[in-house]
Symmetry: C2
Subunit: 251 residues, 2 copies
């Protein structure tokens, strides 16, 4: 049995907040004592907020390239400038669509930059992804170790669109303390046949499971505790989930 | 709180089996009384097996096109013939890679045809997707209604690779009794800003949550009960998750 528990007592997260302390308090308020193999899934949004990854659009001067892409995508040129600055490549553009390869490797809309739902009066402020979400997950887990000797593993989630399917799902952009990608290459099934599915995106599936509670929009839950998982593989960060460019079939 | 309960007492599923009856027995054995908004996630594999979607490779004669693609992909030409017969388009080929648009619209490896793990002595037998997984889900739910007036919603899952991410995740290929896709277009966030994320792939996230238990390979759990979900949107089948061709940015 796997149980997903929402943490709802965090309050609004502000730049500089000690997220580990706030999450530890929320975990205690929920009456939880972390056990081995527990996972704490936190949304990218609260990690970015605690890390102060806000940018005021008023201070951004768009480049010629940003102005050009803003016309194609019908987006604010200052916003497009930030999207470009956070990316290594533009993957697709269309009206209302700007898909980039984020500097971390993730192919995603708007380099993961968030405009909606940032708090009252924040119409002109946007929120970037954490600088290094795997490092953020490590940092968060290290902070939780001050409260419990065996702190939960950490998954930082974000919602992604997909090329051939409608609707967003959650994926893992940061992870610590678990194998975000399980590699079973070389294993065989019970008939001795080589497994056709050899890599399982555990981090992404945990993120999607947590996404059933974090949802989208005003009532979003910012963090979820997951209990009941088992894994044998060694820890791998979320960076392992990014398909290397030389294996990309869709460039 | 959301709870995921594995159903482990199903045994080997055979063509012609009454899957609703077998699942109802497994649900009772697990001591569950279905409640409103419960979801039963079942793997594609057991639905296909019950529907007898096996094909003997020995009886397949590959076309010239299949032989050509078999050379490129290093796959059995008879297998490739079946993949082509189940698809409307070949999306990408490479050594060990054959990605198609399944006749149901899903872009996936090998048209979802499974070679591994079909049971002892089945080396030359493959398993196709159900003819119409949304109809399979409806049929299954109708069968469960004979046991409980409010049967669980049904999600039929399969594991998919992704273009830019490593590892498979589970997605929904069939659904009944819940909104596989939640459409929030037109809604606003708490600041009155139009939501940027307007469609949520609930069916896919339920499938991935269940995938934490069904796993891959020999010890796979074939079905999972999910309790604790809430939804307000009206029912939509898994077909709603397929991005229409005219919205496909990657053709």
């Amino acid at each position: 049995v796997i149980a997903l528990h929402p943490l709802v007592t965090l309050g609004e997260i502000l730049p500089g907040d000690d997220l580990a302390r706030l999450l530890a308090e929320a975990i205690r308020t929920a009456g939880w004592l972390p056990e081995r193999n527990d996972v704490l899934m936190v949304t990218q949004k609260i990690v970015s907020k605690a890390e102060g990854r806000f940018v005021e659009l008023a201070g951004v001067t768009p480049s010629a390239r940003a102005i050009e892409l803003a016309a194609v995508t019908r987006k604010d040129a200052r916003f497009v400038e930030l999207v470009l600055a956070e990316s290594t490549a533009v993957v697709r553009t269309a009206p209302d669509v700007l898909i980039t390869r984020h500097r971390l490797g993730h192919v995603m809309a708007n380099s993961g930059i968030d405009r909606s739902n940032l708090g009252p009066g924040d119409q002109e402020r946007v929120l970037l992804l954490p600088v290094d979400p795997d490092a953020s997950a490590q940092h968060l887990r290290a902070g939780l170790r001050e409260y419990w000797p065996e702190p939960p593993a950490v998954v930082i989630s974000d919602s992604f669109g997909r090329p051939w399917r409608l609707g967003v799902i959650n994926v893992a952009i940061g992870a610590c303390g678990l194998p975000a990608l399980i590699d079973r290459r070389g294993e065989t099934d019970r008939n001795g046949r080589r497994l056709e599915v050899t890599q399982v995106a555990l981090g992404d599936m945990i993120a999607s499971a947590g996404g059933l509670l974090t949802g989208e929009g005003a009532e979003g839950v910012p963090a979820v505790l997951v209990r009941g998982l088992r894994w044998a593989a060694e820890d791998r960060p979320a960076a392992a989930l990014v398909r290397p460019l030389d294996q990309d079939l869709f460039r």
